[in-house]
Symmetry: C2
Subunit: 190 residues, 2 copies
């Protein structure tokens, strides 16, 4: 159990051991309810056939939300990215989860990602804009350019996220790559 | 000496103590030459009257370098920012150091910064573009907008650094402010 907990993001081996001790001590009030809750979630979670999101229903809550902009589609690598962008409603359109990123190292090829499904979804019409919200990593950017190529000629505006200084970023602490990019993509002060 | 060393960026109290021990043990071969080198630097450093850079000569090496683009001026908060941008020659024009940032908290007002000098320098002519390379912090951005206002009507293009995802940035790990900004400033994939 300690090892399984230690694999959770943000929980090191030491805090995992503490958590296990707590769960064992409070068996009835902590361990039993936690197991039940996790089982319930595990039993009820499904992957949305439309967008690839993980939710308790299919189609998911995002796909069926009538208040969302149905003309704008945000493409992400993983479900975790969808959740990150949907926190605080940063993006109020629909999503498409690729299920990973192209990687020669990990042997991930285009056919391993939901790119064909994306192309088909766009071909159905209705979307005016696709935002390729890939990570600003090498593999993320490779994936972004591959997807952009696949969508060329589809008639939708294919957009990418802005790159540059992160909020709160201080020049003196940022890496050269980010500084170079922020300089190269400089724009007029509005 | 340990305290003075521990104040150096990147040197914690533990590594500072180790450094002090090393310097004391190797008095003749380590401590004496280090003191001499620091004294020489301290005696010879001057502030460039043109740009505010710190160098061993005035005007500084940047201001007198004939290979630099003399039509582009980069405005920074501190000398450390100039050095950060000049590492690896990210920016190959001239610089102007403001000497700080506007801050109600720290009581820094416009007249405490080298803004008048900047306006005068631009009025002399020769610059086609000014890049306001302020930190992406609240105070940095306030300063940027103040300087931009002061330069309005001067005839130069007033630019700002791009903001968005830093290089290597993963959506799942970035703060909401940066994600919101990267989405808002999204652009067409080229
Ligand atoms: Zn869905
Ligand atoms: Zn100078």
């Amino acid at each position: 159990m300690t090892q399984a907990l230690a694999r959770l993001p943000g929980l090191g081996p030491r805090s995992a051991r503490r958590a296990v001790l707590h769960l064992i001590k409070k068996r009835e009030t902590a361990l039993v309810p936690l197991v039940a809750a996790l089982q319930a979630v595990e039993r009820n979670l499904v992957t949305c056939a439309v967008c690839g999101n993980v939710d308790t229903r299919d189609p998911c809550g995002v796909c069926t939300d009538p208040r969302r902009d149905t003309a704008s589609l945000c493409v992400v690598e993983e479900v975790a990215d969808l959740w990150a962008l949907d926190r605080a409603r940063l993006f109020a359109g629909r999503y498409h989860v690729l299920g990973g990123r192209l990687s020669a190292l990990d042997g991930v090829r285009p056919e391993d990602l939901a790119v064909d499904a994306l192309v088909a979804r766009i071909a159905e019409g209705g979307f005016a804009e696709v935002v390729l919200a890939m990570n600003a990593t090498l593999e993320g950017q490779t994936t972004m350019h591959y997807v952009a190529e696949r969508l060329a000629g589809s008639g939708v505006r294919v957009m990418q996220l802005a790159q540059g200084l992160p909020v709160g970023g201080e020049l003196d602490y940022l890496d050269e790559g980010t500084l170079a990019l922020a300089l190269r993509a400089r724009r007029l002060v509005e």
